[in-house]
């Protein structure tokens, strides 16, 4: 390891060769403001185009200023981060960005979370000395993501997320000079592109250029409509992140307060997507065992590995990118859609109401879920199984709108029957969780034995792609796990080439799984936040009295009263789906 010695703001520092000035400065507590730069270890995310020029510093002997995020330290380097020349340049550069940015902070969706706003405040900019023409671009409203590119500052983080992390390849810089902007090819709208709506572009956008499509008003309209019974479901990852929106420590579990808030907001029934996650395990686990047994009995036709299908971003990804493999993923619907289908059949019947009288709202850490519930196959006679999907951030907004003091809300419990869930369903919220939940149930169904140790630590972690072998009483089950679509693509290429060693693969589109979803409170590049959310999820699992999906008494009741058994005809009708070849859809209008 080669070390280099240098001086930053008169402080000596020794760093490894190859370290940038920005990292070296950080190591000795010198904060250099930056904007386009973002690095997330473990997530394969590194964005440093050196484009914004906010992090410029003075290096003695150098003619011009150096971008700290891109300039590597050299032996004997003398760096000054806070000279008049630097401060003036930094301010001027930020003023230039502001001169081509709509001054709409008061009504901007990103206000309070905007990194440009923070930067301008930290630099104390009170006047923009350089004004002139502003760039204007076509707006784009997809069912999940809104692109308002007048607010784009060309940091290119969305491009890195879309191309390098997710390998979706929708976003790239187009045009040149003052007209340059990040857009899909030919500046087509997202819903004509191969966008998966994973929302990772939104998760990293520093400004309000990329935001979620806000449906909070639709929720309010439903809540005040006396003719509607409004049912809400909350995804597992929401409870591990919602607290952050109210200043709580990342990783705070706020399940009971969230239920309390939802009740105060006026929802008639506060249910849990976790219930549907248990149901997913019943269906997907049974499907896995069915395919596995057929394979073991010598059936050459059966497709293995089975791939999970809970994640709508992932589903749209393989429909666009691997349409020839549509028979490989499980046919089980996602928990959100299973919930909707059961709520509007089984539960509506229990209430003696028509399905149209029910409004199902989902609270998701996800933007792709907004798109998922608009898919035609998930509606009956034009009435969608899930009417509105909002994000964790939108729920926080609704809570603030209602003037609720979140931290001091009393604890409350989900309603029954669709609020009961097991530890297995909670871990759906993190990478590795779905397959661990499936293994807990499949093990018992396959071996007929009681599983004593339910924690499969070998399936947990944050590495982008993991593998583990689980012993099913002599049968070695090879399991693959990928989070982030780039990692998923690699596993999928192996399956396509017939080289996959796996029996089952879990895939989640977002890095970290749903805890890192595009609808979660903004992490601003801090991976520790995701890790803390993950710990919270496993904590909730640990605290649950029942930790295997098939032991959920209300799931057992649902099968007894209504569905019959997993993979029954009714189960197939309500809980399973089919996929579409979308390869040709990505055409220019």
């Amino acid at each position: 390891m080669n070390l280099v010695k240098l001086t930053i703001d008169n402080k000596p520092v020794v760093v490894e060769n190859g370290t940038t000035i920005l990292e070296a400065a950080k190591s000795i507590g010198v904060r250099i403001p930056s904007l386009c730069y973002m690095k997330m270890d473990d997530m394969n995310f590194e964005n440093k185009p050196g484009g914004c020029r906010v992090c410029v510093v003075e290096v003695e002997g150098r003619r011009n200023l150096a971008p700290a995020c891109k300039t590597e330290c050299t032996e004997g380097m003398v760096v000054n981060t806070h000279t008049v020349r630097v401060i003036n340049a930094r301010r001027t550069v930020v003023e230039l960005i502001l001169s081509d940015h709509p001054a709409e902070c008061l009504t901007c969706a990103k206000s309070g979370e905007c990194e440009l706003q923070d930067l301008a405040q930290n630099l104390g900019i009170r006047e923009i000395h350089y004004t002139g023409e502003q760039s204007h671009y076509k707006g784009d409203q997809s069912p999940a993501i809104i692109r308002e590119m007048d607010k784009c500052i060309m940091c290119r983080r969305c491009e890195t997320a879309c191309n390098e992390v997710q390998t979706v390849g929708v976003l790239s810089a187009v045009n040149r000079g003052f007209e340059s902007v990040v857009a899909p090819a030919f500046e087509m709208d997202l819903d004509h592109s191969v966008c998966t709506y994973c929302g990772q572009c939104v998760a990293v956008c520093p400004t309000g250029a990329l935001t979620e499509r806000d449906y909070t008003w639709k929720v309010i309209e439903a809540l005040v409509d006396p003719t509607k019974t409004v049912v809400v479901q909350t995804a597992p990852a929401v409870r591990a992140a919602l607290g952050e929106s109210f200043g709580m420590e990342p990783g705070s579990l706020v399940t009971a307060k969230m239920v309390s808030a939802l009740r105060k907001l006026g929802f008639d029934y506060v249910f849990d997507t976790d219930f549907a996650a248990d149901l997913t395990i019943m269906e997907e686990g049974t499907e896995l065992l069915d395919r596995l047994n057929r394979h073991l009995n010598g059936d050459q036709e059966v497709k293995l590995p089975i791939l999970t299908s809970c994640c709508p971003g992932w589903v749209k990804f393989f429909e666009h990118q691997f349409p020839e493999m549509m028979d490989v993923p499980s046919t089980a619907k996602s928990p959100q859609q299973m919930f909707g289908a059961i709520a509007k059949s089984y539960f509506a019947k229990k209430l003696d109401k028509k399905r149209e009288d029910l409004v199902v709202v989902s609270v998701m850490p996800c933007l792709a879920k907004k798109y998922e519930c608009t898919r035609e196959e998930f509606s009956v006679n034009g009435d969608p199984d899930v009417n509105v999907s909002i994000t964790t951030r939108e729920l926080a907004q609704l809570i603030r709108n209602a003037n609720l003091d979140f931290a001091s809300l009393p604890d409350d419990d989900f309603d029954q029957p669709m609020g009961e869930s097991t530890g297995a369903s909670v871990i759906f919220g993190t990478t590795g969780g779905v397959i661990e939940a499936a293994v807990r149930t499949a093990y018992e169904l396959h071996t007929g034995k009681i599983l004593e140790k339910v924690d499969f630590k070998e399936l947990r972690g944050m590495e982008g792609s993991r593998k583990a072998t689980v012993d099913f009483d002599g049968l070695k089950l090879n399991i693959g796990i990928a989070h982030g679509l780039g990692n998923a693509r690699k596993l999928l290429e192996e399956v396509k080439a017939g080289k996959s060693e796996f029996h089952a693969i879990e895939i989640m589109a977002c890095p970290g799984g749903c805890i890192g979803g595009g609808g979660q409170p903004y992490h601003h590049g801090n991976v520790d936040i995701l890790k803390k959310r993950q710990r919270a999820i496993y904590e909730e699992d640990k605290g649950k009295p029942i930790r295997k999906s098939h032991e959920n008494p209300f799931i057992q009741e649902l099968y007894k009263e209504f569905l019959g058994k997993p993979m029954s005809d009714l189960s197939h009708e309500l809980l399973h789906t089919h996929y579409f070849d979308r390869k040709k859809k990505a055409e220019v209008e």
């Binding site: 050196g50 020029r53 200023l65 971008p67 550069v93 023409e133 040149r176 000079g177 003052f178």
Partner: protein, 187 residues
């Protein structure tokens, strides 16, 4: 001044492709700087802020000066912006694009000041700052100028001095070209 790499760099210019343009007092230095900025604005790739937005703003400020709309303090702002772009731009294009502004500011400050403070273009190039005027002493009232004016900005009786209404005049110069008595000039 030595015409070599170092000599040109020292005087705020550069060798470029080795071309040389000769100009005289009829060339407006602000317009020359604007011409070069027009080129760099066009050529900017858009990757870095100073070049993408900064050059555009430099061009707009120069344009404002040539239109006689510049305000007190604009020249200070112009110089600061040019220096910052030079200091912070990512590539050679952005790092050199402010050179025409800085070297004309250094070598011909009086031209900039004339534009800003007196709304005058000493070279008579900035159309917005010029006025066509008929000298009553030299005008014979031949009416030729009034007849060629495409916007009817010139009035006057036959054999008496004529007059240009500057609010109507489009500064096309047709009158001056036609006048046989040298009675029309630019001020």
């Amino acid at each position: 001044m030595a015409i070599d790499y170092d000599g040109l760099l020292a005087s705020g210019s550069m060798m470029g492709s080795g071309g040389m343009i000769v100009m005289d007092e009829d060339d407006c230095m602000v317009s020359v700087a604007k011409f070069y900025l027009d080129f760099t604005v066009e050529e900017s790739c858009g990757k870095c802020t100073p070049c993408r937005i900064g050059n555009k703003r430099l061009y707009e400020m120069l344009d404002k000066i040539t239109l006689g709309k510049a305000e007190e303090g604009d020249l200070t702002r112009l110089r600061n912006l040019a220096n910052v772009i030079k200091d912070t731009a990512l590539c050679g294009l952005g790092q050199t694009s402010p050179n025409p502004v800085l070297s004309t500011l250094d070598n011909f400050p009086e031209e900039y000041e004339a534009h800003v403070k007196e709304s005058k273009c000493p070279a008579g190039q900035c159309r917005a700052l010029m006025q066509y005027v008929i000298s009553p002493k030299l005008c014979t009232g031949c009416t030729l100028c009034a007849r060629v004016c495409p916007v009817d900005a010139i009035s006057g009786d036959k054999k008496l001095p004529h007059f240009i209404d500057t609010s109507v005049c489009i500064k096309c110069g047709a009158c001056m070209e036609k006048c046989k008595f040298g009675a029309i000039s630019i001020q």
